[in-house]
Amino acid sequence: MTEAIPAEAGPERSRTFRVYRYTRGEPGWRFDLFDVPITSRTTVLGALRWIQLHRDRTLSIRHSCLHASCGTCGIQVNGREVLACVTDVDDLGATITVEPLANIPVLTDLVVDMREFVARFPDEIPSVRAAEQLPRAVPPDGIDEYERFEDCIECGLCLSACPVSATSDGYVGPAALAAAQRLLEEPRGVDRDRILDWADDPLGAWRCHAVFECTAACPSNVRPAERIMALRGTLAGRGGAS
């Protein structure tokens, strides 16, 4: 690593990273192998940045906050959805396979196109937290339309982990349905019936197969599957699927 390694981080070792590579517009994809020096404190994101700095500057990754708040560094490591910034390398085995999230179009290497993820949400789901606005701030007109539901960091891990999304492009997926249930729990002036109508669809709440991989993958304890089940209970109570 480029940074000085603290003594308590232990001796430096190495791991082989098997990194997915894809360039938009070019046919096919491949895995590249990189030997990366690590310590007990190295994260997957740290290792990928080391590869970028020392081995291959063309490797595309996306990250921001480095502490599991922004949700931008979601990837698959050894087939499991994780946030790269808080995933330690030490316990992952000698060879570590790194891939982009599934069920979301891959743009380049480990970067997926989150526009499709966001497009799944109902129109009523906002995308900026009201709590993030300073009391004296003068928000621009129409900011209400972008107010986001709490907890979820919109990383897309749940959508990638969902086996139903893997076979059905039309399924809106766990994050959007959890957001709908969040709005039912705290409507904030949103029309409750409109949210229920949106979810009451064969490709909405009823498409979920109760696999619970979304809950297992969620790094933010949103528990999407439990929220979808609660949403279904509400829908069943008002008369079932349309």
Partner: protein, 144 residues
């Protein structure tokens, strides 16, 4: 909800991109790597479901042996009472028990009745299924 898949407009606008991650068949049918209990339960449900559909057609095929008369049916009965065939019966009962009991679990969880008890249900119904499977196996062994 729109009839078009979510994100379809954006997808058409930007042109073709790789749709799925790697390690997943083009159909996206199954990716068992790193999955949790719910993922295992779902995959096993799909596999046992396919097995039961296969058995249904096999069963219909076996019944059609009756059209061949008494001899063809008796030949089949001799095969059906062999140890090898009876062990397949145990496998069939395992598939039926798993698929049925997991179906009860999914129904209870999926209807919101016990939305947050999927793991406990899997283990409890698994215990019920194991006892039933042992009883069925003993019955099969005793009936030969």
């Amino acid at each position: 909800m729109s009839e078009r898949p979510p994100g379809a407009d954006a997808r058409e606008e930007r042109g073709p991109v790789l749709r799925k991650g790697v390690g997943i068949p083009a159909s996206g049918w199954i990716d068992p790597r790193g999955r949790a209990l719910g993922g295992f339960a779902f995959s096993a449900n799909r596999v046992t479901g396919l097995g039961l559909v296969f058995y249904l057609y096999l069963h219909l095929g076996v019944l059609s042996l009756l059209l061949g008369g008494e001899r063809s049916w008796n030949d089949f009965i001799r095969l059906a009472t062999s140890w090898a065939f009876l062990s397949l019966d145990v496998l069939l009962i395992l598939g039926i028990l798993y698929h049925g009991l997991n179906g009860i679990r999914v129904a209870l969880v999926g209807s919101g009745i016990v939305a947050d008890r999927q793991r406990a249900l899997w283990w409890s119904l698994g215990a019920v299924g194991t006892i039933a499977l042992i009883a069925a196996t003993l019955h099969i062994i005793g009936s030969r």
